[in-house]
Symmetry: C2
Subunit: 417 residues, 2 copies
């Protein structure tokens, strides 16, 4: 097997760049701090990570990571592409990850080390399978063959009894929403256990489907211990539910893959905690690298954040993330990007123009629940705005024809466009 995994890093170091690259390559393949018996040239040639390219780039003004050695004045930044023989670990995400993203973050010669991207052999796609439902499966289950899917998050995030939840869901589905999700903070606590939420919500969805012929998708948050994921999933499916949500970093990528092998409905992949591994420019994983592993592991939907969000990411980062999720990898199907955080109707035209597709799930929490006319007004404003954007209209045209959008603008301010 001569295939290789290529990992691309941003590194900073006060050593000569080539020397730092060799230290990283050695630590993550054949090396230790002294050359040992049996570490022959043949072993090195066959199993060592190899420097494919090393390109100096401009350094920002961030301080070196704590514990870095070397003269700070000498520090330079580079993009390093390292390749690893697939034979070292096989197409196993956990074992590949130990090589490309394991101890290397602790190397003291590196003042910065961030995994930017991964190029993986097709064997990973064959082993993991990626999303089982993705864009087309979600459109089919929600009965929305075209247009952006409009969704929302139950608010308040926690604190509603199952009965109150049913009332909220009834309002939302009556207003015509395509998708509703539990907040990631709503797990399986004693106040509102998953089983009680399913029992309260599903009859509302069924009644709505009986009336309209379309069942909105509700993503029940089934995040929990691995041993409970399958039972939680089965509980949702037995009640007629069409989606389960998992916090990917809480069940782990390996937990997601475990769930995907059993799931008979789409998995809504939440990225809570992603900031901890990505917000620093000096350390961790770029979204581009991480999302490939999440999609491979089976995320049918994947959170990308949205423009003008309430979190730290710039619009450019968000748009790059949406493009990343839509870029084909290793022969697996399409994952649906999920736009959320601070989203409301006035962002539709700008978002649509920037992403160039309506294969999106757009979630507005406060932007729907907090609408001056309540959830019904919130959903109507979102639908009107996205339909208008899809028709190629301007924001002004949408404002002229949508009272719900005009009401939203009264509260949330000027729309983008």
């Amino acid at each position: 097997m001569s295939e290789r995994v290529i990992a691309t890093y941003a590194i900073e170091t006060s050593l000569p760049l080539e020397r730092a690259a060799e230290i990283l390559a050695g630590e993550q393949s054949t090396g230790t701090f002294v050359r040992v018996a049996r570490e022959t040239d043949d072993v090195r040639a066959r199993f060592a990570a190899q420097v494919e390219s090393l390109t100096e780039v401009a350094r920002g003004d961030a301080a070196p990571l704590p514990g870095t050695v070397g003269d700070p004045a000498e520090r330079r930044r580079a993009v390093l592409r390292l390749s690893f023989p697939l034979d070292n670990f096989g197409p196993s995400i956990p074992n590949m990850q130990a090589a490309v993203a394991g101890n290397l973050f602790e190397i003291k010669e590196l003042a910065a080390v961030k995994l930017l991207d991964l190029d993986l052999p097709a064997a990973f796609g064959e082993r993991y399978g990626g999303p089982r439902f993705g864009v087309s499966g979600t459109r089919e289950l929600t009965g929305r063959p075209t247009g952006a899917l409009i969704g929302t998050i139950v608010k308040p995030s926690i604190g509603l009894s199952p009965e109150e939840l049913a009332t909220v869901v009834d309002e939302l589905v009556t207003a015509g929403v395509d998708f509703i999700k539990d907040d990631e903070l709503q797990g399986n606590g004693p106040h509102s256990p998953l089983a009680d939420r399913v029992a309260a919500v599903m009859p509302v969805l069924h009644r709505h489907a009986d009336r309209t012929g379309r069942m909105p998708m509700y993503a029940f948050n089934i995040t929990d211990d691995i041993d409970l994921l399958e039972a939680n999933h089965d509980l949702v499916v037995a009640a007629g539910g069409t989606c389960v949500m998992a916090c990917i970093n809480m069940v782990g990528l390996a937990g997601l893959a475990h769930l995907a092998r059993r799931a008979t409905v789409p998995i809504h992949g939440h990225r809570a905690m992603f900031g901890a591994i990505s917000r620093s420019d000096q350390l961790g994983f770029a979204f581009r690298a991480w999302q490939k592993l999440a999609r491979l592991s089976g995320a049918d939907h994947l959170h990308t954040n949205g423009i003008a969000n309430k979190f730290y990411e710039s619009d450019d980062q968000v748009l790059a993330a949406i493009a990343d999720v839509r870029s084909p990898i290793v022969g697996i199907g399409e994952t649906l990007p999920v736009l959320s955080s601070g989203q409301w109707a006035g962002l539709a035209h700008a978002t649509r123009a920037a992403v160039g597709t309506d294969d999106l799930l757009v979630l507005a929490g406060g932007g729907i629940h907090g609408h001056p006319d309540g959830s019904a007004g919130g959903v109507a404003s979102m639908r009107d705005a996205w339909d208008s954007a899809e028709r190629g209209e301007t924001v002004a045209q949408a404002m002229a024809t949508s009272p719900a959008l005009r009401r939203a603008v009264e509260l949330f301010g000027a729309p983008r466009g």
Copy 2:
């Protein structure tokens, strides 16, 4: 249920500290960016996260995290203790984690946000059980009732055939090592599959045990997809193996808990990738917080790094980590701290004096394999040095009586002490 989880954070912000604390508390419990219907005062009182204390501390010179808003000149640092009702999530690590360490890392009002510590109700201990073997179980299985356990990592990390591995292991056990582990880079690749390694190594260990009455512990790295962990574990146990190793961040804390519920031998918990979530002072998890979750989830052994290591951590950080792992939590048993990275015999006296215990597993990779007289000399030097330190001798006394230590010093330099 009135119990609460207390999460302690270091935060930096340009907002008034109290305001930033409220934003964090709101985002992680009842809030969204506008107040919504049904978010009553009663819901807030019952489910909201509460600020228990907020203490300003000196700020370092690290730059604000990317995407932070506010005037950098106004930036201040504080230690914030937030409490969350256990009722919000129940004693579920994944769901608790979504609250205490989820979206909050993305809050743009925070220029730094690092989870320093977690105080958990006893219900977590009851649900997860912690280590099943820990210190005493490991001592029993290795036949070392007292003294530091001396271990090593197979080197080269990867590239040995199963037959070559058997030869290396034979050398090491003949030299009297207590413990051997696969490198974290050695997973289950096609070059040296786990089954072949087990088949090659276990007869060597059995022959040694037949001769000496003691079987050294070999930690086979069984890290892989969740669906393979149990079979990998069973394969090791069926062959008479007494330990399995898991890269905790690769199988996830949830994967570790899944394995621990099934394991009939100790789990050697490797922390590869830990640097990605911890090396920045501005972001992620301090070891103190993370190790509690790893121990709860069932790590019998847990890597802490060692003094004078080849990675970024200072000796103070390492010693604090060893103390953390040994601090009792929520009624669970003791996890054995694993000292590794750049370890050799000359560090024994300084380490022993600083940690005040010999309930340690000390791993030397290059420090044993790279010894001038080979692995036998390496193991002898480690054993001599730790025995001497345990007797309360000085390094000079150890040097006077141990030829193996003197030979190690020739290569690795002056000992500490």
